[in-house]
C-alpha cells in the first residue's frame, strides 16, 4: 500500500541482481559498461572530506576506549558517573538514537515529504511508555529484560528460546538497516561500488567486534550522543540559515522544487491509508518497549530518582534529534534539488529533463542528509556528518552483533540446546562463530536491501519487537491469568505472524523477490501481528488447566507487590547486567 515505489522507480527484483552484484564487487571496476558503475563514478570523492571523516572516526573510537580504560580504575570507587543524570541521559539517548534514523527519516522526507514526520513522532512515543509501564516496575523487580522477568515466575526454557529467536529477528532487521546506511555512506564518500562498500563495512565491523570492540561503553555512548546532536544541529542550522535569504519559508521552498509540488506537505505520500498508519504507529510506539536491552543503562544507575531524571533528559534529547531529522529532510530537498547545485543528482532537473525523479540522487535517497551537508557546508560539513553517521552506525552495530551473537551463543546454544551443560569456552566459541555468521548474513541482506529506505527497515525491526516481546511483557507484568503456555503460544504467534506477514508483504515478497503483487497488502503488519500475540496469550492461558498454570497464576500477587514497592535495598538491582551475567543457577535443570 505504499503510494510510491520504494525501490526508487527502478523496481528490479533484487535477488537475481544480488548474484550479479557480488560478482561485480569481486571484479570491481572491470565492468564499467554497467550503468550502476558509471553512475557511481560521479560520486563526489574528495580528499578533504575523507580526511575529516577518517580523523573524526578514529578520534571517537580512541576517545571512547581511552575513557573506558581510564574509568575502569575508578569504577569501584563508586564514580560520579552513577549519580549524574545529564551524562546518563546522554548515554541512554546515545544507545537509542541511530544514524539510520537520521539518514532514513531525512531520506523519506526527501522522497515523500510529510509522511517522514510519522516516523519522527512515533519513535519518540515509545519512551514515555517504556518509562511508565515497563522501566519502573522492572527496576523494582530487579530484572532487566523480559526474558529475565519471565524467568521469575514461568518455565524459563521455552520462554528463553522464544526470546532468543525474537531478539535475533529484531537484530537482523536492525542490522540490515545499519549495513545499508553504512554501505551507502562509504559508497558516496569513497566512490566504491555499493556491494564492495557493504562488504568492506561488514568486514570492518566483524573485525572491530571480534578484536576488542566488545565494550560499548558508557563513554562511547555519551560521545556518540554528543556527536549526533552536534552534527545534526550544525546541519539543520546550516540548512535553515542557507534558506534565510529567501522570502519563502523552508517548507514552501521545498514544495516548489519537489516533483510532488504542494502534495509534499500533505500526508499520504508514503503511508497508504489509516490502517497502514495505525499499524506503523503500533510498531513504532510499542516496539520500543519490546526491544532487547534498550533500557540497560536505566537499570545500572543506583538511584531511582537519578535514573528517572536521566530518562527525562534522554527523552528531551531524542525529541530534539527527531525534530532535527525532520528539518534536515525538508532542507535537503531545498538544496539538493536546487538547479544551482547540480553535483548531487545524476540527472539534474531543468530543461530537457522530462520525468525528473528525486531518485536521481547519487547514492539513493538514504543519502539525502549527506548531500545536504555537502551542499550547504562544503566538504568540511560533508566529512563531519559522514563521520558522525558512520561512527554511530558502528557503535550500534557492535551492540546489535553482540546481542545477536549472545542470543545464539547463550540462549539458543548454551541454555537451550546444550541444556546448561556447555562449558564457558564452548559458549564463547559458538558466540564468536555466531558473530561472524550474523555479520556475513547482514552483509548479504544489506546488498539485497540496497534501495530500501533505512527507516522503513528499522520500523520492521520494531514491528517484530512489538508483536512478540511487547505482548508477552505486558501479560507478564499486568495480567494475573498469564501462564507459561500462554506466553509460549502467544509469543510465537505474534513473532511468527509478524515474520510471515513481513515476508509476504510488499517489502520482501514484491520488491525483494520480484513478484507482481504482495500476498499481504500492508507494508507494516504491526496492528495485526500484535493483536495475534495478545489474543494468543489470552486464549492459551485461559484454557490452561495444568497445576503448573495454577501455581504461576498464584505467584502473580508476590510479583505485583514486588513490582510496586521494590525490594528492601530500595529497588536497586544487585545483579550485574544480563550481558555480563552468568546463566541463572538452578533454573535450567
Amino acid at each position: 500500500m505504499i503510494g510510491l515505489d520504494p525501490t526508487g522507480g527502478r523496481g528490479r527484483p533484487a535477488i537475481p541482481a544480488l548474484v550479479g552484484a557480488c560478482w561485480l564487487a569481486l571484479g570491481a571496476g572491470s565492468a564499467s559498461a554497467d550503468p550502476v558503475v558509471s553512475r557511481i563514478d560521479r560520486a563526489p570523492v574528495d580528499g578533504l572530506a575523507i580526511a575529516v571523516f577518517a580523523v573524526l572516526v578514529a578520534l571517537t573510537l580512541t576517545v571512547g576506549h581511552a575513557m573506558a580504560w581510564w574509568m575502569r580504575g575508578h569504577r569501584r570507587a563508586g564514580g560520579a558517573l552513577e549519580s549524574d543524570p545529564v551524562r546518563n541521559g546522554f548515554a541512554i539517548a546515545g544507545e537509542f538514537m541511530s544514524a539510520a534514523s537520521l539518514l532514513g527519516i531525512a531520506g523519506l522526507i526527501y522522497s515523500f515529504g510529510f509522511d517522514g514526520l510519522v516516523f519522527s513522532v512515533g519513535w519518540l512515543m515509545g519512551w514515555p511508555l517504556i518509562l511508565m509501564l515497563v522501566a519502573d516496575p522492572l527496576r523494582n523487580l530487579g530484572r532487566y529484560t523480559f526474558a529475565d522477568v519471565a524467568a521469575l515466575r514461568f518455565r524459563p526454557g521455552p520462554v528463553r528460546s522464544f526470546a532468543a529467536v525474537g531478539s535475533l529477528a529484531t537484530v537482523f532487521f536492525y542490522l540490515i538497516a545499519q549495513m545499508v546506511g553504512a554501505g551507502r555512506l562509504i559508497q558516496v564518500l569513497f566512490g566504491l561500488p555499493y556491494p564492495t562498500a557493504v562488504i568492506v563495512v561488514g568486514v570492518l565491523m566483524i573485525l572491530y567486534v571480534t578484536f576488542g570492540g566488545l565494550a560499548a561503553t558508557v563513554w562511547m555512548q555519551i560521545a556518540k550522543a554528543l556527536f549526533l546532536i552536534v552534527g545534526t544541529s550544525a546541519l539543520a542550522f546550516a540548512l535553515v540559515i542557507d534558506g534565510s535569504g529567501s522570502a519563502d519559508g523552508l517548507f514552501t521552498r521545498a514544495a516548489a522544487l519537489h516533483p510532488a509540488g504542494p502534495g509534499l506537505l500533505a500526508p499520504g505520500g508514503f503511508i497508504g491509508g489509516p490502517v497502514e498508519a495505525v499499524s506503523l504507529g503500533c510498531a513504532l510506539m510499542f516496539g520500543t518497549a519490546g526491544l532487547p536491552h534498550i533500557l540497560m543503562r536505566f537499570f545500572t544507575i543506583a538511584d531511582t530518582r537519578v535514573a528517572r531524571r536521566a530518562i527525562m533528559i534522554a527523552t528531551g534529547l531524542i525529541g530534539y534529534f527527531y525534530l532535527l531529522t525532520f528539518v534536515i529532510g525538508f532542507g535537503a530537498i531545498a538544496v539538493v534539488l536546487d538547479a544551482a547545485r547540480p553535483d548531487h543528482l545524476h540527472m539534474p532537473p531543468g530543461p530537457g529533463a522530462e520525468g525528473f525523479s528525486v531518485a536521481q540522487i547519487v547514492g539513493g535517497a538514504n543519502m539525502a542528509a549527506i548531500h545536504a551537508a555537502d551542499a550547504v557546508g562544503g566538504r568540511l560539513l560533508f566529512g563531519l556528518v559522514s563521520a558522525v553517521a558512520f561512527t554511530t552506525i558502528l557503535t550500534v552495530v557492535v551492540g546489535l552483533m553482540l546481542a545477536g551473537a549472545t542470543a545464539i551463543g547463550r540462549d539458543l546454544y548454551a541454555l537451550s540446546l546444550a541444556r546448561g551443560r556447555a562449558g564457558e569456552r564452548d559458549e564463547l566459541r559458538v558466540t564468536r562463530i555466531a558473530m561472524v555468521v550474523v555479520g556475513a548474513f547482514s552483509v548479504v541482506l544489506g546488498i539485497a536491501f540496497e534501495d530500501h529506505n533505512v527507516a522503513l527497515i528499522v520500523s520492521l525491526a520494531f514491528t517484530i519487537a512489538a508483536s512478540g516481546n511487547f505482548p508477552v511483557l505486558m501479560a507478564i507484568m499486568y495480567w494475573r491469568g498469564t501462564t507459561t503456555r500462554g506466553i509460549v503460544v502467544g509469543g510465537w504467534l505474534g513473532l511468527g505472524g509478524a515474520l510471515a506477514m513481513i515476508a509476504t508483504g510488499p517489502v520482501i515478497w514484491r520488491d525483494l523477490f520480484g513478484h507482481e503483487r504482495a500476498l499481504f497488502p500492508y507494508v507494516n503488519p504491526g496492528l495485526f501481528s500484535m493483536t495475534l500475540g495478545f489474543v494468543g496469550i489470552w486464549l492459551a492461558s485461559v484454557t490452561d488447566r495444568s497445576a503448573a498454570g495454577a501455581r504461576e497464576r498464584a505467584s502473580y500477587l508476590a510479583q505485583s507487590v514486588q513490582a510496586q514497592i521494590g525490594s528492601a535495598s530500595g529497588g536497586t538491582p544487585a545483579d550485574p547486567p544480563p550481558l555480563a551475567q552468568d546463566p541463572p543457577r538452578g533454573f535450567e535443570k
Binding site: 510529510f114 514526520l117 510519522v118 513522532v121 512515533g122 519518540l124 512515543m125 519512551w127 514515555p128 511508555l129 518509562l131 511508565m132 519502573d136 523487580l141 530487579g142 521469575l152 515466575r153 514461568f154 524459563p156 519563502d248 519559508g249 517548507f251 521545498a254 506537505l265 500533505a266 500526508p267 499520504g268 503511508i271 489509516p274 498508519a277 495505525v278 506503523l280 504507529g281 510506539m285 531511582t304 528517572r308 531524571r309 530518562i311 527525562m312 527523552t315 525529541g319 503448573a548 501455581r551 498464584a554 505467584s555 508476590a558 505485583s560 507487590v561 514486588q562 510496586q564 514497592i565 521494590g566 525490594s567 528492601a568 535495598s569 544487585a574 545483579d575 541463572p584 538452578g586 533454573f587
Partner: protein
C-alpha cells in the same frame, strides 16, 4: 530477609510437589490501606498518562491519514501546515508527559512506596543463588 535467603528455587517451584506456594507477607501487604493508595495513585498516573499519549498519537495518525486535505492546510507563510504543527505538538506532549511523570514519581510516589515497604517484612522475591 532470612526466610528468603534459604530459597534456592524460583518463585514457582515450591518445596512441595504441586501446591501453589503461599505468599502470606505479600497478601498481608496487599491488604494494607497504604499499599492500596500506592497502587491506585501509581496506576492512575502511569496508565492515565499513557492513555493520553496513545490517544494523542493515534489521533494524530488517524487525522493525517483520514483527512489529508485538512492536514495540508497551511498555517502562515512559512509553508507550515496543520499536520506538521500537530506532529510537533505530539512530540512536545510526549516530552511534557515524561517530565510530569518523573516529577510526580520522584516527589509523591516514591515516598508512598517507602512507607509501604517500612510497614512490612518484604525483602523481595527469591532470587536464585542470591543470598539477600
Amino acid at each position: 530477609m532470612a526466610s528468603v535467603g534459604q530459597e534456592v528455587d524460583p518463585v514457582t517451584r515450591p518445596p512441595g510437589p504441586s501446591a501453589p506456594r503461599a505468599w502470606p507477607e505479600a497478601e498481608r501487604l496487599s491488604r494494607l490501606p497504604s499499599f492500596r493508595v500506592l497502587v491506585r495513585r501509581r496506576g492512575r498516573l502511569a496508565w492515565g498518562l499513557c492513555g493520553l499519549l496513545v490517544a494523542a498519537f493515534f489521533g494524530f495518525l488517524l487525522f493525517v491519514s483520514l483527512a489529508p486535505a485538512a492536514a495540508a492546510l497551511p498555517l502562515g507563510a512559512t509553508g507550515l501546515t496543520l499536520g506538521i504543527a500537530a506532529g510537533i505538538g505530539v512530540i512536545a506532549l510526549a516530552i511534557a508527559v515524561t517530565g510530569l511523570y518523573v516529577r510526580r514519581a520522584n516527589r509523591s510516589i516514591d515516598p508512598l512506596r517507602r512507607r509501604v515497604r517500612e510497614a512490612g517484612q518484604w525483602s523481595g522475591l527469591a532470587r536464585p543463588g542470591a543470598g539477600e
